[in-house]
């Protein structure tokens, strides 16, 4: 399809007058129309605006405009304590909030130099992988919906509700879970946790296979996604890609294997790697990652270690409530933490964790008080969405929609 377009384009005029900035008024060359693929988009992608110049159906120049959901997380972080910032981090990548919570807690525990007990680490890993499954359900399901295949999403969404049920019984909230605390978990797992997760693991692989059967060998799906939005490995590294998009381009980098955190060095799993970084490869990499997540949870769910779920050093975590009301030392610890916060050593630290769409990193500068001096969030979507014009220029508008959807851009994370 693209070969025919390039022959036709050779006849039309020169496009170098189309500049990146819209600050000056420029006259469009003949045959070009400027279209606003506006911020009020169908709700599932979030608020992303693209001002595109098109020649027929072919996109000649694309200019993304972002910032419509800028919720000022970095500035808010300077007035919250380390535990309170968990509530902010929830709202960043709102399709898999426990992963953001865990990424922040890993960074904060490194800068405070404490380690959570093994029971908490294993439970955090299980919830991390369940959230990764729920994020990939949305990404792949919505890619199907954008191409017209609505049924696949409906099959998978029921299982996403099951994950929400598990999270709700565990933390009290479906979406904004605020899952762990510095030093461990706030509450232990509920009695039926292992049973619920095992029931999920028994039913989910079969549904995933059904979803695959609908799409992977479907002629229409292959024609619309194979070769579209392709990017080479060197180009992906230049732009700063991480996560499934980088792995689909052929580079085997996963933070869980490179800089293991939680208990990822004790479980056995593989990393799927694609070939040409196109939409089809990204879809397949995510499907395979979901199967690997099921494998990780199966290895861990029967072997949750006994012991405390919260580090019993009450300088950093709140003591249990019944002891606060009966013992003097615990009451003083509680008072000191709530009124004066955790005392954090001075310094700076960068730590990255593997979120569902890439490496979510936190660069924290601490000045010795209980509130961080500066937090910078290294958001994965921000780094790969800037390559969007390069991926879609020369293609059709419909291909731009499916590329945007398969890149997994979450607007809350992009602008914050």
């Amino acid at each position: 399809m693209q070969e025919n377009n390039s022959e036709k384009r050779a006849v039309l005029k020169d496009y170098s007058v189309l500049r990146e900035s819209l600050a000056d008024v420029d006259v469009l060359p003949e045959g070009i129309m400027r279209l606003n693929l506006g911020p009020a988009h169908p709700a599932t992608h979030g608020i992303l605006q693209n001002i595109i110049d098109i020649d027929g159906e072919t996109i000649v120049k694309a200019r993304p405009v972002i910032g419509y959901v800028h919720r000022t997380f970095e500035k808010l972080g300077e007035s919250y304590t380390y535990n309170q910032f968990l509530t902010c981090v929830d709202r960043m990548n709102y399709v898999s909030p426990p992963m953001n919570n865990i990424a922040w807690v890993v960074a904060a525990e490194e800068i405070i130099k404490i380690k959570a007990p093994p029971r908490a680490q294993v439970i955090r890993t299980i919830i991390n992988e369940l959230s990764r499954i729920s994020d990939h359900i949305i990404c792949n399901g919505i890619l199907g919906v954008d191409l017209g295949a609505y049924t696949g999403l409906l099959y998978l969404f029921h299982f996403r509700e099951k994950i929400y049920d598990i999270l709700e019984k565990m933390t009290g909230a479906r979406l904004t879970t605020t899952f762990t605390r510095i030093g461990g978990l706030e509450l232990d797992i509920y009695p039926d946790f292992v049973k619920d997760v095992k029931a999920f693991l028994k039913e989910y692989p079969k549904v995933l296979k059904d979803f695959n059967a609908l799409l992977i060998k479907n002629r229409i799906f292959i024609d619309r996604t194979r070769g579209i939005g392709a990017i080479s490995a060197e180009n992906a590294i230049q732009w700063g890609y991480t996560g499934p998009n980088l792995r689909a381009a052929g580079v085997a980098y996963d933070v869980r294997k490179a800089y293991p955190y939680l208990v990822y060095d004790q479980v056995d799993f593989d990393i799927p790697v694609g070939v040409d970084g196109s939409n089809y490869d990204r879809f397949l990499v995510r499907i395979e990652e979901m199967e690997q997540s099921v494998k990780i949870i199966t290895q861990l769910i029967d072997n949750i270690p006994d012991g405390p779920f919260k580090k019993e050093d009450y300088h950093f975590s709140l003591p249990p409530k019944n002891e606060v009301f009966s013992s003097m030392e615990q009451m003083i610890y509680h008072f000191k933490q709530v009124m004066h916060g955790i005392s954090v050593p001075q310094g700076e630290y960068y730590s990255g964790a593997e979120a569902a769409n890439g490496e979510l990193g936190f660069y924290v500068v601490s000045d010795g008080t209980d509130k961080p001096y500066r937090i910078h969030v290294r958001r994965p979507c921000f780094w790969y969405y800037q390559s969007f014009p390069e991926l879609v220029e020369g293609g059709l508008i419909a291909d731009a929609i499916s590329t945007m959807s398969s890149l997994n851009v979450i607007a809350g994370e992009l602008d914050g």
Partner: protein
């Protein structure tokens, strides 16, 4: 996948200290990374050297910190590089005064485009040789640089951005 060899950081530190001894301010190892602090005039040269000779092919992060009142030199640019082959990370910091400009890294890495625009928008630091130095995240007519320490969290009254569409506030009923 290999885990990072712990001696890789030490050898990198020694190489940088020997080859760049007069041109950098400081180089040290800070827990899990080598941190190099240097002046902005040597920035592009050091980045090119790290990219070509030591295999740091990805720019992982780019940001700025405002030390108003705590240090003499107000800002500090922070760059983080990553090598995909041997999984090593390095941090480069550049102290900057008020109103100074930094050279842009867009010729070395294409991915430096938007992060530099974001720093320009939110901190007010300008970059030389950048193709499009405009606001990215705040609206176009916005006045101010929000992430600076002297800008309040609640803003300085942003109603000028939506003046024409605000609904009139109803007057309260006066008691008779």
């Amino acid at each position: 996948m290999r885990h990072l060899d712990s001696s890789a950081n030490t050898s990198l530190l020694k190489t940088i200290q020997s080859e760049w001894s007069g041109k950098i301010i400081r180089a040290e190892e800070n827990r899990n990374m080598v941190v190099v602090e240097l002046d902005k005039s040597q920035l592009v040269a050091l980045m090119g050297y790290l990219k070509d000779k030591h295999g740091f092919d990805m720019l992982m992060d780019l940001t700025a910190v405002d030390f108003l009142g705590k240090r003499d030199i107000r800002f500090e640019m922070v760059y983080m590089l990553f090598a995909t082959k041997n999984l090593q990370r390095v941090r480069v910091k550049v102290p900057l005064g008020e109103g100074e400009k930094v050279p842009s890294l867009i010729d070395l890495w294409k991915g430096a485009n938007w992060p530099e625009r974001e720093v320009f928008d939110l901190m007010g630091i300008e970059f030389e040789n950048h193709p499009l130095m405009e606001r990215l995240i705040m609206p176009d007519g916005y006045i101010g640089n929000p992430l600076r320490k002297d800008f309040p969290l609640k803003g300085r009254g942003e109603d000028y951005l939506i003046e024409s569409i605000l609904l009139p506030v109803k007057q309260e009923l006066k008691a008779k």
